[in-house]
Amino acid sequence: MAEERICRETIRYLGYREHRPDPQMEKLIAWGIHETEQKSVPAFIVQEFTMELGEKHRVRIGDEAFISQNLSRNLQDCEKVLLLAATLGAQVDRLIQKYSRLDMAKAVILQAAAAAILEEYCDEKNRELQQKAEEQGWYFRPRFSPGYGDFPIDFQKTLLAMLSAQKRIGVTTTESGMLVPVKSVTAVIGMSRRDTKCRLSGCETCGKRDCIYRRSTSVPLENAKEE
């Protein structure tokens, strides 16, 4: 199941849309997924924080406050949040860097495979946490990452510091706020007592609808910001 999803997502990230890769390419994609999995050392941390929504889309998480209309909407009716960080580890970056110098076709396949594997890993962790939380009457909002919509990307550094992510799973940022290892994710998950049946997350919440990488979906995009 998971393997199939990873394969499908890798193909999507490679820009194939509804097309199927030829058998030769399928083999290469399978190679890429296998190589990436071999080099992955997935790690994940999550911690609960208090939150508050204020006037004019003000969001407070822990002791940090900022403005974001998109995140405000995502966290509507929530009482607390989980902050999380996940990574596939530095070896995957090395693998992609290596092929960037030797064979670009392989590099883009590895890069897509890594993105798919990381997403699957986060989904899996998300489901586990969600299940536990629901037993105690909490409902999850879709994962929302710094940089989505108007959620300030600067929050990435703060979030990592709040989780001691460098020490615990080795996730850092560059001066400009990019995550290193590159195949890492940070996100906020709102927790609410109300189940809103909102199941949209990631790709589908983005306003860029003509994107060639978009997941095919017919769900109306109420939460999406128009650009």
């Binding site: 530095a90 090395r94 850092t172 990019m178 290193v180």
Partner: protein
Amino acid sequence: MFIDQLGKTILFFDGGMGTLLQEQGLKPGELPEEWNLTHREAVIQIHRSYVEAGSDILLTNTFGANALKFHSKEHTLEEVISAAVANAREGARLGSQGKRDVYIAFDIGPTGKLLKPLGDLEFERACEVFREAAMLGERAGADLIHIETMSDTYEVKAAVLAARESTSLPVMVTLIFDSHGKLLTGGDIPSVTALLEGLRVDAIGLNCGLGPKEMLPLLKELRQYTSLPIVIKPNAGLPVQRNGETCYDVTPEEFAGWMEQIVDNGACVIGGCCGTTPEHIRAMAERCRGRKILRPEKKNHTIVSSYGKAVIFREAPLIIGERINPTGKKKLKKALKDGQMDYILDEAAEQEDCGAHILDINVGLPGIDEPSMMMQVIQEVQGITNLPLQIDTVDEKAMEAAMRIYNGKPMVNSVNGKQASMDMVFPLIKKYGGVVVALTLDEKGIPQTAEGRADIAGWIIKEAEKYGIERKDIIIDVLTMAVSADPEGARITLDALRLVRERYHVHTVLGVSNISFGLPNRPLLNANFFTMAMQAGLSAGIINPASEMMMQAYRSFCALMHYDEDFTAYIDGYGERRLELTDQERISDLAVKGDSESKKICAATQPGEWQVQKKDVLLLLQHAIQKGLKEEAGRQTKECLRTKAPMDIISEGLVPALDTVGKGFENGTVFLPQLLMSAEAAKQAFAILKEILPQGEADNGQKPRIILATVKGDIHDIGKNIVKVLLENYGFAVIDLGKDVPPETIVETAVQEDVKLAGLSALMTTTVPSMEKTIRLLNEKKPDCKVMVGGAVLNQEYADSIHADFYGKDAMQSVYYAKELFGI
């Protein structure tokens, strides 16, 4: 003195600091180091309670006190560090009442940044930051330096070098391993041990990440490799999430029980990390006080390492790839002169694929800036392989520069029995660590007898001892002489090998292929001599691993001598099983699955042979490129050359094929990986044609040149690299400046090289400003240089707003723009 007790008696470290500060009100994300000044009493109290619990060593509250991590508006680094040492000193005084010695260890934690090439931190910048902190720590009165919680070999190397260069304090290092014994950046226990012992640290160990139970097996492994005192500081178990809090559940009594076992297995400095409290330390100290420790034991492993791999010299011989050495290699000479890294990297990758264990790096050429070229090649090669490298140079500056930036414990080629050589090389080995190749020659030349060479080996070993360099770090090269010049040459070398092995119990190395110089069919002599040398005790051969005969000799020797468990390597090399499909198999595969073009090719192919009928050679080349078959494209190009001129092959074969693929990409019938596979296949074809074309026509100087760079602050360079491959395919000479490139570098290059087009990429909104700055600067200093931009966050409007001349929504668009601009 601390150093007198280290390794001779049990010493108790303290426990967690962060968790205790949080209990006192430190908030997540707040700088704990600031508390040294703002909550002095609280910090002193924690130190004091550890001393009262039994700690002999206190770690200062300076984990994040470095210029990259500590950004305070109120306090300087110096204020924080001197307060931190003073607080620890005060806690020690209060806790011990002056009745026993308590040592203050200045704590150095990671910078919080990843070093290049993974992150954006320069190695020398990391050294500088650590130097500053270490110096302030010593000045404030610390007794030793403790570098801890490190997860990257490169960063830990920077920290140790810095501590050594700026202080005279003892240095202990502990790293954070996972339960499989791996660092986050891939290093394992043998490779880390080799690196740190090479850098001459005083103690080595583990902290954080794991509980004592999980550390126990890692400690046992560490003890197998290290000759140094061992430090163990576990967490109070593995973290457990409870009600949104991170908890550590191992109780003080349990902790003490485990730590007792830890002492029995070889640790002599013990303490705790996250989740441990004075109660843990008290229980541990009560349980372990007076316990007999295992003294550190000398180990004799010869180990070279890279960031992620240790190569240990054991009984089975090893292969050192010799091909990155310009002597007698025209193409490599040209690549070095032109700074063509791709060729060098391909050589490195191929040698690894062929089975090399270590790669020799020699870039010595007249007229080349060897130190800077050596550094560049070392860094680039380490970017694509985790094989340890052998730094091969006679240039002192190049040797030191390379040893300094090398990520791991290198092999160094070479020292010899001349006093001047030893005076130059040994201090470098002492400072940076390394396994050095020692040539048995001296001021009088190369002795004609085995005895004479062995004597020089002995002399070198003795001289090395003066520097504290052990014989495990010396590999003797008794030198291979051409038999054509001296018929006794092979015999002397083999005798010397045996003698040196017996007399000094050292490892040996030989450059094998010199033996056949001046005789025909050299591979035959080389391979046989290689076998004889291995039989005589050769530990490592410097050979060409792409030479089939050499590898046959090697694999046969290993198979026959029971060095190849289950004959795995032998069967992999020569058995029926094939791991990767050849192009021919791929084509037949495609044909079976109904691909009509492939069917045609299969029909045209004679069974068992891969020959084609003359008529459609160009068609077949086009097909190979369109299908992205690299090897096949190379073969077809050679086939075409029998009947066609190189320029015609380009215009009638390559260009139409690339155009078809490019159009397919635009129409959405060909996708990115296929486009790139075709590009790689075409690259293969071009490489072959380039060798045949007359200099002028193939020369880069004739082609329009384009700068490509990922802008300052941005480390995502996949997009830029895609564009590069395609532009090169279409005949442009790309000056690739890499990633995280300052605007000034781009502008300077454009001016110096008089470049008319620069392509810039940026992935995130946060890095677009540096793209904008680059464009502004280019417009000012080099107005005739056009700028094309691309990257995930960009669109036409955004590109217009930063005044780019062209926005490429995908890689092909930049090719079309460049073609239009240069009128091709």
